[in-house]
């Protein structure tokens, strides 16, 4: 297993509406995902050579205030290969979302926990592809029961190399 990307809060890209707030907690940058409104952000990368095997997103998070309940996230992938008939000006082409949840957030707000989501729907991403990774808190998921913001600290993308 190899670490392929470390997605930081500062490197995130935001849509025009419903995006997580870029904030700082004890000088640590975080993305604050709301508990009532589904918010989304993106990262853009190039798939490295040697990319292989099962891919997973490992989300490092802490809760702002919740000490019970769970959180759920959706990760989606858009892979664009050179010459693809996809007009980047006005089109997105994300594969089906990959959902995952942590049914029990840490019992102390501020404690860090990691949630791993296997990216089965990878949009056939291959080495050298132009890749966008979307992250959204799935507030409508039955497992997303924790109150308040979920602060995402980092997202690690691993493959099977």
């Amino acid at each position: 297993m190899a670490t392929r990307f470390i997605l930081t809060p500062q490197a995130a890209e935001f849509p025009a509406t419903n995006f997580p707030q870029l904030n700082k907690v004890n000088t640590r940058p975080v993305l604050g995902f709301d508990a009532a409104t589904s918010e989304t952000c993106y990262w853009t990368v190039i798939v490295p050579q040697g990319w292989t095997g099962t891919v997973a997103a490992v989300i490092s998070y802490m809760m702002a205030s919740a000490v019970s309940g769970g959180v759920a996230f959706d990760v989606a992938i858009e892979a664009v290969t050179t010459g693809d008939a996809l007009d980047l000006d006005n089109t997105s082409s994300f594969d089906t979302v990959n959902g995952g949840n942590d049914s029990a957030v840490p019992g102390t707000a501020g404690y860090m926990e990691q949630l791993s989501i296997t990216l089965s729907n990878l949009d056939s991403a291959a080495a050298a592809d132009y890749l966008r990774i979307s992250l959204a808190r799935d507030v409508a998921d039955g497992n997303d029961t924790a109150t308040g913001d979920c602060y995402v600290l980092e997202v690690e993308i691993r493959d099977g190399a």
Binding site: A35, S68, D144, A146
Partner: protein, 85 residues
């Protein structure tokens, strides 16, 4: 006066969670239970608004607007509970 609409209750719920997050205050219940508390609070206010109005001295009862009475209630409740009086 009726209870808040569903969307207004959702708005209150969301705003409360944002406030709790912003001040980093521990919240021991989950968001389903918090939503139920919003509904219960709104139901209670709806059921007791006439009693609140009747409890006001006559001058205030007749002289304050509905908004002014609502603000008064908000300030007193905030002072009593948020300030720990």
């Amino acid at each position: 006066m009726a209870v808040l609409s569903e969307s207004d209750r959702v708005s209150v719920w969301a705003e409360d969670m944002r406030d709790i997050s912003n001040i980093r205050e521990v919240c021991a219940i989950n968001k389903i239970d918090l939503r139920a508390a919003v509904n219960a609070t709104d139901d209670w206010v709806d059921a007791n608004q006439a009693a609140f109005n009747a409890a006001l001295p006559l001058a205030a009862r007749n002289g304050l607007t509905t908004s002014q009475k609502a603000r008064l209630l908000t300030y007193v409740v905030a002072k009593r509970f948020l300030m720990g009086v």
